[in-house]
Amino acid sequence: MASRKEQKEQARAARIAQEQAAAANKQRNQRIQIFGGAIAIAVIAVVVVIVLSVSGGNGSPKGATPGIQKGKSAQKLYSSINTLLKGIPQSGTTLGNPSAKVTMQYFGDLECPICQEFTLSIFPQFVQDQVRTGKVKVIYRSMCTATCDGKMSASAENTVFNRQQVAAAAAGKQNKFWQYTELFYHQQQTEGTGYPTDSWLTGLAKEIPGLNIKTWQTDRTDPVLLDTVNADQSYAGKAQLPGTPSLIMKGPKGETLVDNGNFPSYSDLARAVTSVS
């Protein structure tokens, strides 16, 4: 039988233990509440940042033009393009010696990723070996494929397609069509999203040293350029071209659709040049 003093001590110890348990319990609950609060704050913050990021991705941010390189990065890109094209005659959408015996018609869509792959991987060697040497001239023609992939309404797709193709053609009036086209393909984004807005296209134009932006803007409204884009589309439809890029090689010995419209290798192109020369 415990003495009265011992009983008091036991009761005191029990009370202290109870108080400690209650304090620990309170602290745990408080911690869980803070934990939940931290998660809620984080979720809200992430949603806000993603919304801001998405609005930038759609091409309508404040200030900066999304996907358009700036500063040294833009200079480096333009420098590589300039190295490829420097010294080669240009007129409108034509690249190369105007009196070259062989003409390659390049049917493309500036939003087409396969055209991008062709333009950035195969085309540079072709330019170096066949165009720079005066054997072949290249004429770019418009054919809506990737831009008209059904992600937007037909009229919206047509508007975007005309806007981007005419923007490039307008640079051609200052003999800088190929600089513009190369820059477009290098900085191409997700097809069919309508990203080539006026500000995006202007941002691209501003990357070309020596291009008079004011003149370029005026030329963009030239109805002849739009008529040319429409005529190209009409021709591509009548010729039943299989897609983009479609490359038609024409020379003294005839005309051929390179590799039947499949993605060509450099040797396919070189063979086609030989066959029509």
């Binding site: 940042v49 900066a64 040294k72 990065s73 792959e117 984004q189």
Partner: protein, 161 residues
């Protein structure tokens, strides 16, 4: 009995120490990664080593120059750097001012970093079809930190001194 309790306490301390050391180490790795990306961003991406490349342009350069490399005009590399700096501040608050608040702040920042870097990685894989190892590295750091700082907060370790 007493010896066993002391051993258990020592093991517990060691575990806590390793958790804090791991958090510091991963934060430092992520911080250096973000600092390098920020430097490269302002230096025109001219010296950014990258494994992948297509069309003669490195994957890192394509990701870093894409539409998703900026949030309202601010480079995501800069945002990452700010995030890691915030983590260091939270560790300092946990150690010097209020352990509970500091640890909660660290967890919150790491969770934001995890969420946003997860979104950016999604964009890399499914929109851009290009992978930037430096960005993925930072995303991995933030994922690990979100887990470690959550453990640290829920365990309620004492502030680092």
């Amino acid at each position: 009995m007493e010896g066993s309790a002391q051993q258990s306490a020592a093991r517990s301390r060691a575990r806590r120490d390793w958790l804090v050391i791991a958090i510091f180490a991963v934060t430092m790795i992520g911080f250096l990664d973000a600092a390098f990306l920020t430097y490269e961003h302002y230096n025109g991406l001219v010296g950014l080593p990258c494994v992948g490349a297509s069309h003669g342009v490195s994957s890192c350069e394509q990701v870093q120059s894409s539409a998703w490399s900026k949030v309202d005009g601010v480079s995501v590399a800069v945002l990452g750097l700010i995030g890691y700096f915030g983590l260091w501040v939270s560790y300092w608050i946990a150690a010097k001012i209020n352990g509970e608040i500091g640890r909660a702040m660290g967890f919150c920042i790491a969770l934001i970093g995890f969420g946003f870097s997860g979104y950016l990685t999604f964009r890399e894989i499914f929109t851009l079809h290009e992978i930037c190892e430096w960005c993925v590295g930072s995303a991995v750091c933030m994922t690990v930190l979100a887990i470690l700082t959550a453990i640290r907060f829920l365990r309620g370790e004492p502030a680092v001194s």
